[in-house]
């Protein structure tokens, strides 16, 4: 099951980090941040390579430049798997699943993909708020609720 969802800005600053867990102590929150933070390297690298690939091959498929927003598994630890997703505006969505929990051990890639897509939609809804400044932290409680809901039910 998903334990953490993070929205990261294009300058790699955290916009939103939400997690579900047994406890909401700061320790837990911190460890989630570590997880997501260390995933950024792999995410950026993947982004760079996919970009260079597209630039190399954009002669033949300029029209079909739509790269897959879903980046797949970024890395995994003993306990967690970290998936990445990058929007076209370079907003990074990171989903962390727990591989220790019974449901999370054999999570399917497609599930993660749909979850991240839904998260993308939620994010888009959240920043539709005219009072939201792009680049600011997302403080919307509705977004938070929806994301928590997504984590519990969808994945």
């Amino acid at each position: 099951m998903a334990v953490c969802v993070a929205v990261i800005g294009k300058d790699n600053s955290p916009l939103y980090i939400g997690g579900v867990g047994n406890d909401t102590s700061t320790d837990n929150e911190l460890s989630r941040q570590w997880l997501v933070h260390t995933a950024l390297d792999a995410l950026e690298e993947r982004l760079a390579t996919s970009n260079s690939n597209t630039t190399n091959s954009n002669t033949n498929n300029t029209r079909t430049d739509l790269r897959d927003l879903y980046l797949g598994l970024l890395y995994s630890t003993d306990t967690h798997k970290i998936y990445g997703y990058v929007t076209n505006t370079r907003i990074k969505l990171v989903l962390v699943t727990s591989s220790t929990s019974p449901s999370g051990s054999n999570i399917r890639d497609a599930e993660v993909r749909t979850a991240l897509r839904r998260l993308h939609a939620l994010y888009a809804d959240a920043i539709c708020n005219p009072f939201h400044l792009p680049g600011d932290q997302i403080t919307s409680s509705k977004f938070d609720k929806q994301v928590k809901n997504l984590m519990l039910n969808n994945v």
């Binding site: 300058d11 790699n12 600053s13 955290p14 929150e29 911190l30 941040q33 570590w34 933070h37 260390t38 950024l40 390297d41 792999a42 690298e45 993947r46 390579t49 890395y75 995994s76 630890t77 003993d78």
Partner: protein, 1335 residues
């Protein structure tokens, strides 16, 4: 990457598990000979230098028996666990082949000990050791006796260990034997012995010491170190080569099974003769042979062998060895593809070392004088990963050999079996070859590119990664091979790094985490460390930081038996970049990148680490850094907690704004607390007004316009106006002030001590300030200081000392919400003197007012109009600079003329007292006079010409028959000489010069004249400008002394008139004098006469005066020239006639009025300055141009004298007239008229029946020349008694011509048209002759 079928063949852990991972391994190490370098005995002080030199001999070239040049690589290690040696069969590069000891001894016992240790080391690695060298550094340079070097040890080893190969050994080809013998006979010992001085004392090595031993003195540069090492390598190579040959000649069917250390039990009881097992043996041996081939420099061959081995092993499912074979294949391919991997030592460092060590350069110049190719290579060498754009795997064909030698080499290698003459020659000349080879080892390896590069088994970059992945999966099936797997992961990662494939690298590295190893805590840390390093290499800084942090926490975890806070600290410190943290707080604040929550966590941890490490200064520094940089991300509660923590930390060691240098040479820049306290405004203040310097010569303003919408491009003043440059000046040695507003953001009271200003430029002495700030309330703080030099002073910020931390808060680094200029620039001018002024008003009770610092010093003086007093100002120089310039100016709401009369001081007197040396005093005396106009006009209007003259009730025209003053044209004769305002029309419209200011109706207009009846407040500023010292030419200081002068009314002259006196030469000025004071006044109007006037009373006093001399020009000019000119200057455009001015002056001068207030003993003067005189009055005031001589009965009549006669008596009246004018008078009409004055203003001229006259009472004189006299006589008989008066007058019918016109008249007679019957001027005999007639 993990195999899903884990631990298939693994056993319970515990036995012979290779437990010491070598994280530093690279793929190319598969091809290296392993040599242990150990320092034994006493510590050599140049051990590290020697170690570096040895390390550089990592590649030699040896020509083998077939004439082929082999490239042999060596890996030196400082320490090698014996357990890893056990894996030597599995991967031969794990075998320790050589031993080099560097030892120091001082005496025989130590020498014995050193030899023993060396031998014991040999025993320790006896399983694998082929050869060893001992470098011994003794007290004196001499060679101890040693038994002749033999290879007996080596051969003993061989015989004991490998008896099976003994026979083979001696069946080596003869040429190889030759080369061996040549190597043996290589005269290294001889050469070293010859180079040594004669021995003085005999040290002998123990008899069981059978090693090549080289002896040097301790400071010997050891010139042949490299040679000896190369020699060792050479010998090692031949052993390996022999082993290879030996292995290659084994019969495939008869080979024994090679085992990995943990496999021993697996094969107990298995059928060794099975076909499967045979193949397994074969595969393993092939793999072993491949390893040896690779080590002995035949990379291309090894590729084939590895491939074959893999094929065989795959068929028998021998996963472990299959994996090893694949790894070997990968390693061999990588070596071929990425030759740069083999040059681990940075080239730059080599170069610098070469230049620094003299022996090195010497040998280089000896053998390789031309080092340019090397340099060139260094420049052009492009490691694959240096350029991101280059494809990860270069096609091998692109790797062009960089020197001809490499071409040669490759060509030689291509013709393996072709022993041509050259190779023969080289083999015969092996000594040279080996020497040369060592020197070549210094050079970066030429990208070796054998022709077999197109070997079918050579893997390309992608394949290497893929094969490695497979190998790792196979390894992972064996728990005991965990270390091998880990190392393989690292090696694969390094190749991926070289390939510039970060994702591959990271996946390999990620795999390391999953390998479950029972490692010591130290090794786990090392693992994380290595991971971090590799992550850093691929640019995964966050990952690296994460690993470093994990390593750091491991260092001090409770599981760690000996926690090392220091290393923990350094690991944390080095993870800063990964967290997007810089050591420089300003950078962090400016960029605000990274994840604050993690940064805060890391910083808190590093604070703890620094504290536990026992470096409180660092702890304080990092805590300050945390508080400073993370301020916006911390909650209020956290602010408070951290601040308290910081206070606790700084109690141990104060934080200061100096960089801290760590033992590693890293510099921790200072962190300054700019948030505590928060500064919201910062502004230098101009000096207070009395101390402010003023330019001595004030420049004129730019123009009359305050604002202009026109902008002149280049003339724009704003353009070159420096922002932050203050417009005011500060003075050297003078206290200056900066005002700032501070807020304490912490919820408790904050003490900020030692606040100073940070400046640059001139020397500035800042005065420390200590304040206590209450929470959350802005406080204004003034910081003071004194500039000590002249020049530009930049104020950069301020320093604080709070929470135990000293901070330098620079304005340019201030947190963003408050925008500050980066610095303020103020010009400091040379020091100027300062003064204090003491004012003493002398007579009036000495109002002494000491004015310190000249601030708001006010002197109040009360004066009655006409009173004068003295005021002395004592100017004391309170500075150290002499006052060399002093200038006193007075500014008041009076006009200049009046002001100069009220305040009188001598400028010469002041200048004479200069310079005023420090602490000296100068006194300036100033005379104050209550200047006022005593003539009270009482709100005069313009129409009434003579409002105050007593025409109505003063008998100034006693007996004068003139019916209308206005219409009767003046009979006044004009005097050319008296004309002052020439050319002016004599039409007077205004009575006095006072009217000149009548147009200034505004009340704020300067007071020119004090109305006598009202008190006036005069606010005066005495501006004292003074300067001294070096800057006296440019700047001065200005002190202002306020004098409030209250002028009280004393006397006022409300009305005046003139009366003729008894004597014709005199007249009486009759004044109505009012005492306006509240006291009784003694009023002196002549030197002898005085009158007492009660308060508010009015009195009429006659002041006898001489008549204004007719010809008063000279007197006027001499005495009153000043006045006249002033009158003129004031009365610009005034129509005051010169004549009246002259009369007025005459009166003013001769009237000396003094008053004395009896009660308060105040004396003063009054004047009638500005008195206005009507035409008739002037006739009285002035001497007549005609001199009268009136006689009755030939008896001369004096003025005011009464003549008596009886009625009927005949009186003869004689009238003589002298013309005193300088021109003749014409058409004079002399008339004598009798009248009776009723003394009520009515004159009766109808006296026909009262008297009779005989003779003409009117005669016309056609001309009276100048100075001539005309006489006329008539007789009169009074018929009735009574009072009679005779009005004797002389009139002329000439037109009214005055002054210049008269002058002109005299010049041009013809132009005058006499107008008969018109009376133009009348002169009278004044007073009229009075005759009382009695019966």
């Amino acid at each position: 990457m993990r195999s899903s079928v884990s631990y298939i063949l693994s056993h319970a852990p515990g036995e012979s598990v290779m437990s010491h991972p070598d994280y530093g391994q690279h793929a190319q190490h598969h091809a290296c000979l392993l040599v242990l370098v150990k320092g034994i005995g006493g510590m050599l002080k140049n051990f590290n230098k020697l170690w570096e030199r040895i390390q550089k001999v990592n590649n030699i070239k040896v020509t083998d028996s077939s004439g082929q040049v082999r490239d042999i690589w060596v890996r030196y290690v400082r320490d090698y666990p014996v357990e890893n040696n056990d894996w030597g069969d599995f991967q031969t590069h794990r075998r320790l082949l050589g031993l080099i000891t560097l030892s120091k001894f001082t005496n025989q016992i130590e020498l014995n000990e050193v030899c023993r240790v060396h031998e014991s080391l040999k025993v320790k690695y006896s399983n694998t050791l082929y050869d060893s060298r001992a470098f011994m550094f003794g007290p004196i340079s001499k060679k101890p006796e040693q038994e002749p070097e033999t290879y007996s040890v080596f051969e003993d080893d061989k015989t004991s260990k490998e008896n099976s190969s003994l026979g083979e050994k001696f069946s080596l080809p003869s040429d190889q034997a030759d080369s061996l013998s040549s190597a043996e006979s290589y005269p290294h010992s001889a050469s070293s012995s010859t180079s040594l001085p004669v021995q003085e004392e005999n040290f002998t090595t123990p008899s069981n010491f059978k090693t090549h031993a080289m002896f040097y003195s301790e400071n010997d540069p050891v010139p042949d170190l490299e040679q000896n090492v190369a020699d060792l390598i050479n010998s090692l190579f031949w052993v390996v080569e022999s082993k290879r040959l030996e292995r290659s000649r084994e019969k495939i069917e008869k080979v024994s099974l090679l085992l990995a250390p943990f496999e021993k039990k697996d094969f107990v009881g298995l059928d060794m003769e099975s076909r499967n097992n045979k193949k397994r043996c074969m595969g393993r041996v092939t793999k072993n042979l491949a390893d040896l081939t690779l080590q002995s420099g035949l990379i291309a061959d090894s590729l084939n062998l590895y491939h074959n081995a893999a094929e065989i092993l795959k068929s028998v499912n021998d996963w472990l060895w299959l994996a090893a074979a694949k790894e070997g294949l990968c390693a061999a391919s990588a070596i071929l593809l990425y030759p740069n991997l083999r040059n681990p030592t940075p080239l730059q460092r080599n170069a610098s070392l070469q230049e620094s060590s003299p022996n090195k350069t010497k040998s280089l110049s000896l053998f390789q004088p031309n080092i340019d190719p090397f340099r060139k290579y260094k420049l052009t060498s492009s490691p694959l990963r240096s350029s991101k754009t280059s494809s990860p795997v270069n096609p091998p064909s692109e790797l062009t050999p960089s020197s001809s030698e490499s071409l040669e080499t490759s060509s030689r290698q291509s013709e393996t079996d072709n022993a041509d003459t050259e190779s023969l020659a080289s083999s015969s000349d092996i000594e040279y070859q080996s020497q040369k080879s060592f020197y070549m080892s210094d050079h970066p390896s030429i990208p070796r590119q054998p022709s077999q590069i197109n070997n079918q088994y050579l893997l390309n970059g992608e394949e290497i990664a893929e094969k490695y992945r497979k190998a790792i999966i196979h390894y992972s099936k064996y728990q005991n091979a965990g270390i091998i797997e880990t190392e393989a992961c690292f090696k694969a990662a390094r190749i991926a790094v070289e390939q510039n494939n970060s994702l591959h690298a990271s996946s390999f590295l990620q795999n390391v985490i999953f390998i479950n190893l029972t490692l010591s805590e130290q090794e786990k840390i090392q693992r994380f460390d290595t991971l971090a390093e590799l992550y850093k290499e691929i640019g995964f800084l966050r990952k690296a930081a994460f690993c470093q942090r994990l390593a750091a926490t491991r260092q001090v975890s409770p599981n760690n038996p000996n926690p090392d806070w220091q290393r923990c600290y350094y690991l944390m410190l080095h993870s800063f970049p990964g967290h997007r943290l810089s050591l420089d707080p300003n950078y962090v604040i400016q960029h605000q990148v990274g994840w604050p929550a993690l940064q805060i966590q890391l910083l808190q941890e590093i604070v703890v680490a620094a504290r536990r490490m026992g470096h409180p200064a660092l702890a304080t520094r990092h805590m300050t850094f945390l508080l400073q940089t993370m301020w916006p991300h911390l909650s209020r509660q956290e602010h408070r907690d951290l601040a308290i923590q910081l206070q606790a930390l700084s109690a141990q060691c104060e934080g200061g704004p100096v960089p801290l240098v760590l033992e590693t040479g890293e510099v921790i820049p200072p962190a300054n607390l700019t948030h505590v306290p928060r500064c919201t405004s910062f502004l230098p203040r101009p000096p207070p007004a009395p101390r402010a310097p003023h330019p001595l010569n004030a420049k004129p303003n730019q123009g009359p316009f305050i604002f202009t919408p026109i902008h002149f491009g280049s003339l724009e003043r704003k353009a070159n106006k420096d922002e932050g440059k203050m417009e005011y000046l500060w003075v050297e040695d003078d206290i200056c002030e900066v005002q700032m507003k501070l807020t304490n953001p912490l919820p408790f009271e904050l003490k900020v001590s030692n606040m100073r200003l940070l400046t640059s430029g001139v020397v500035f002495e800042s005065i420390p300030e200590t304040i206590i700030l209450p929470p959350d309330s802005p406080t204004t703080v003034n910081l003071h200081g004194t500039p000590k030099e002249v020049g530009e002073l930049q104020i950069l910020g301020y320093s604080t000392h709070t929470l135990g931390v000293k901070s330098n808060c620079r304005l340019k680094n201030m947190p963003t919400p408050n925008k500050f200029l980066p610095s303020y620039t103020i010009e400091v001018i040379p020091s100027l003197p300062t003064i204090t002024i003491e004012t003493i008003v002398a007579p009036s009770g000495s109002v002494s007012l000491s004015s310190l610092e000249n601030v708001g010093s006010t002197t109040n003086i009360t004066l009655y109009n006409g009173e004068s007093t003295e005021c002395s100002m004592k100017i004391t120089n309170t500075s150290n600079v002499p006052i060399e310039y002093l200038d006193i100016a007075i500014q008041s709401n009076m006009d200049n003329l009046l002001q100069s009369k009220v305040f009188q001081f001598s400028n010469e007197d002041i200048q004479a007292q200069l310079p005023i040396s420090p602490n000296a005093t100068a006194t300036v005396n100033m005379k104050l006079y209550g200047e006022a106009d005593f003539l009270d006009l009482g709100g005069v209007g313009g129409e009434n010409l003579f409002p105050n003259s007593l025409t109505s009730n003063y008998p100034s025209r006693v007996g004068s028959p003139v019916p209308n003053v206005q219409s009767s044209l003046p009979t006044q004769s004009s005097n050319a000489q008296t004309s002052l305002s020439s050319g002016l029309i004599p039409n007077r419209t205004s009575g006095s010069f006072r009217s000149t200011n009548s147009h200034t109706t505004s009340w704020s207009a300067p007071i020119s004249v004090m109305p006598p009846s009202r008190g006036r407040q005069v606010e005066t500023q005495v501006i004292i400008r003074y300067s001294g010292g070096t800057g006296k030419e440019v700047h001065c200081r200005q002190s202002t002394l306020q004098i409030n002068l209250e002028l009280l009314p004393s006397v006022s002259i409300t009305h005046w008139d003139v009366l003729p006196a008894e004597i014709p030469s005199q007249l009486y000025l009759v004044l109505d004098v009012t005492n306006l004071t509240s006291e009784e006044m003694d009023f002196h109007y002549t030197p002898t006469k005085h009158i007492l006037i009660e308060s508010k009373e009015s009195c009429r006093v006659p002041v006898p005066l001489d008549r204004c001399p007719f010809n008063a020009t000279t007197k006027t000019n001499e005495d009153n020239s000043q006045d006249t000119i002033e009158c003129k200057s004031i009365g610009t455009g005034s129509s005051m006639s010169g004549l009246e001015a002259m009369c007025s002056e005459h009166v003013t001068q001769h009237v000396d009025l003094q008053w004395h207030l009896l009660h308060s003993d105040v004396r003063g003067r009054a004047s009638v300055k500005g008195i206005t005189l009507s035409q008739t009055m002037m006739d009285i005031v002035r001497m007549s141009p005609l001199n009268w001589e009136v006689s009755v009965n030939n008896q001369c009549i004096k003025p005011q004298e009464e003549f008596s006669c009886s009625a009927g008596e005949c009186l003869s009246l004689g009238v003589g007239v002298w013309n005193h004018l300088r021109r003749p008078l014409r058409h004079l009409c002399l008339s004598v008229q009798f009248y009776q004055d009723y003394n009520n203003g009515v004159h009766s001229y109808k006296l026909d029946n009262r008297l009779a006259t005989a003779g003409n009472n009117k005669v016309v004189l056609p001309s009276l020349p100048e100075s001539a006299k005309a006489y006329h006589e008539c007789t009169v008989v009074f018929l009735t008694p009574g009072e009679y008066k005779i009005d004797i007058q002389c009139s002329t019918t000439e037109p009214v011509l005055e002054d210049t016109s008269v002058l002109r008249d005299t010049d041009q007679q013809s132009s005058i048209q006499p107008c008969a019957g018109e009376v133009s001027h009348i002169w009278r005999f004044i007073p009229p002759v009075a005759i009382s007639v009695t019966d």
